[in-house]
């Protein structure tokens, strides 16, 4: 999967969280004996992806599918349990804090909730100058102020507001400030975790336009995490669909929306409400998303899939590349059992 222009590659990343608590919480009484039992949430299971320079790769899925965990693993906020993250040819998941610093400048994150991600006790100026002072101690105050002015203008925040605190701003303006903070170090790569989900529709359009404009002007690469499929369709170059911590489909955005392959992707797309259209037949899924604590055997989707058979229950499907470049992890697609 090492193609030309790959800026980031994620290789077989696994991330599990131990939620069993302390020693006493782990004690269980089983078959007349006391045993220690650990409970782990299998958030991300063996996911491999690569992101090409200048593209917007969106990761979509329902809540609990591991998309945010994946984003945080990429940034090094969580260390992966196994697997590797490579950025521009260097492995970054095992670096020390000092070795990681130059990469922190290049990779920035925008969070979902602009109410929680800005420090309420810092003015806009302080929020924006902190990363500059940390990563570029050699810069003079004048240079820093110039830089802040320039970025604030780009994200459309009035420069007169620089001495204000976050509580004085609305959600949309706060998100602009978060984006300004993300852009101030001139990063190459931005991980955006649901950056518009907390915003109203008309504000969401403003922020999406801003992100697309910044992407064009600065030649940014985005890893975009969202559950909103209409947003995904609008901004993405490629889309990765996740279900229960596994990648089920990876395709060019137009291919995915025109011709979804994986049965889960099909169901997901049929559920999006479209303005002005009465609902076409929605593909109903049986049951509910299983918990990531007890993963199903074989294909994680088999219990809800209409095409599931013996093989799906026993064998984990590999991500196979189709003729048009779409990658699908499904035995039924491989065996041509899916009726489109």
């Amino acid at each position: 999967m090492n193609e030309e222009n790959t800026i980031l590659s994620i290789k077989n990343v696994v991330k599990h969280f131990d939620i069993s608590g302390g020693f006493l919480d782990q004690l269980r009484f089983k078959n007349g004996r006391i045993v220690l039992e650990k409970i782990t949430v299998k958030a991300v299971n063996d996911v491999s992806l690569f992101v090409k320079k200048g593209e917007t790769l969106s990761v979509v899925g329902e809540s609990g599918c591991g998309k945010s965990t994946l984003a945080r693993v990429v940034l090094g906020l969580y260390p992966p349990d196994s697997g590797e993250i490579h950025y521009g040819g260097t492995r970054i998941d095992n670096l020390s804090h000092e070795q990681m610093l130059p990469f922190r400048k290049k990779i920035q994150m925008i969070f979902q909730d602009p109410y929680a991600s800005l420090n309420p006790r810092k003015t806009v100026q302080q929020t924006l100058e902190e990363p500059l002072r940390f990563h570029h101690p050699e810069l003079s105050s004048n240079k820093i102020n110039d830089k802040i002015d320039q970025v604030m203008e780009q994200v459309g925040v009035d420069q007169a507001w620089i001495k204000r605190y976050p509580h004085e701003f609305s959600g949309g303006q706060r998100q602009r400030i978060s984006i300004a903070r993300g852009l101030i170090l001139d990063p190459e790569f931005i991980v955006a975790d649901e950056p518009v989900s907390a915003l109203d529709v008309s504000i969401q359009a403003q922020i999406l336009n801003l992100l697309m404009k910044a992407g064009r002007e600065r030649d940014l690469t985005y890893l975009f995490i969202t559950h909103d499929l209409s947003v995904v369709r609008h901004i993405s170059t490629r889309v990765a669909v996740m279900y229960l911590g596994t990648l089920c489909e990876l395709a060019k955005a137009e291919d995915l929306f025109a011709n979804p392959c994986h049965p889960y992707t099909k169901a997901l797309l049929s559920a999006i409400p479209v303005v002005g259209e009465k609902r076409a037949k929605q593909i109903k899924l049986k049951g509910e998303v299983p918990t990531p604590v007890n993963l199903p055997t074989g294909c994680v989707f088999h219990a809800r899939c209409v095409y599931a058979n013996e093989r799906c229950i026993n064998q984990v499907p590999a991500l196979l590349t189709q003729d048009n470049g779409t990658c699908v992890a499904c035995h039924a697609v491989e065996e041509n059992r899916v009726i489109s």
Binding site: E62, L229, I235, Q282
Partner: protein, 320 residues
């Protein structure tokens, strides 16, 4: 013939330290038997307050300062608390956004359902359980008998919302007010819940007021739509017409700002500049004028009334 529900010139104010603010300003609409109405708008537009005031759930410092609400020809806005309790949750039910917050975590589903029924009817526990079971089947909950003895935390978000819908159905209401019923849920679950609500409305000839910010959901479920902005209805008409040919510049902008409606992928979305004014600071004239691309002198001085704009749409805009 009178309408099932008629809201006339409703005005809701909140008494705050620095004076009263008007959250709802002259809202009127009607709802007939079996009809589905969507109340749409951004946060702070007053759509939830409108829903709450129908069943008089506005609590201090809020109060209904003007206007009348009729249910089956009776003026329920003048009812005492005690009289209102016979309507609220009985003839008119409400479903709220967060299914975790609306169920009591310390009681079983069965207890909460029986309690609701016994609050409104003289009925034995066993009979109430039978009705509860029947309603759980109606909302397609798998193994309903077991659910009765389960606690809310044992169920997923979508399941809980189904339970809440089942509770709201217990007394066979004439109207269900659903306030953002699927906002906290995933798309696939959202689609199921919306299908369910639609199916129930049709089978029981129930009316639905769907409060949401999601125009996609509204356009699939409802027949009529009321678009709200800064406490007023600014456009009102059949959903199909409004969505296809919006009259008010705000509705138009709202539809075009949704990815995938008008604009091709990758191109800039149509954006409405600025944001909705806070209720303490509503601009004079048309509240939308600072954000409007059609704005003329009259918009800043005179407040537009809802008037016929053709195609059966009412719109509050001077220029249309």
């Amino acid at each position: 013939m009178s309408h099932l529900l008629e809201v006339q010139d409703l005005e809701v104010k909140f008494a705050l330290r620095f004076g009263d603010i008007t959250a709802i300003d002259g809202v009127s609409f009607v709802l007939d038997k079996g009809e589905k109405l969507g109340l749409v708008g951004e946060s702070g537009a007053g759509k939830s307050v409108t829903g709450f005031s129908i069943i008089n759930l506005i609590s201090k410092p809020g109060y209904i300062s003007k206007g009348k609400i009729f249910f089956k020809g009776n003026e329920i806005s003048s009812y005492s608390d005690e009289k209102m309790r016979k309507i609220r949750g009985n003839r008119i039910s409400m479903i709220f956004q967060d299914p975790m917050m609306t169920l009591n975590p310390v009681f079983t589903i069965g207890f909460q359902m029986v309690e609701t029924l016994q609050a409104h009817r003289k009925i034995s526990k066993a009979d109430a359980r039978d009705i509860a079971l029947e309603k759980l089947k109606k909302v397609h909950i798998p193994s309903p008998a077991q659910r009765l003895s389960q606690y809310p935390h044992e169920l997923s978000g979508g399941m809980r919302q189904r339970i809440i819908i089942a509770i709201s159905l217990l007394t066979e209401p004439a109207i269900i007010i659903a306030d953002e019923p699927t906002t906290a849920l995933d798309v696939t679950i959202q689609a199921e819940i919306m299908d369910l609500l639609q199916e129930l409305c049709e089978s029981d000839n129930m009316a639905l007021i769907l409060i949401t910010h999601d125009l996609g959901v509204v356009s699939q479920v409802t027949e009529k739509i009321a678009v709200m902005y800064a406490g007023k209805i600014i456009e009102y008409g059949s959903t199909d017409q409004v969505v296809k040919n919006p009259i008010h510049p705000y509705t138009e902008g709202l539809i075009k700002s949704i990815p995938g409606t008008v604009i091709k992928p990758g191109e800039d979305l149509v954006q409405i500049p600025g944001m909705m004014p806070t209720l303490t600071n509503i601009p004079p004239g048309c509240a939308f004028n600072p954000r409007c691309y059609l704005k003329e002198a009259i918009c800043t001085t005179k407040t537009p009334e809802l008037k016929d704009a053709g195609n059966g749409i009412l719109a509050a805009c001077h220029l249309k």
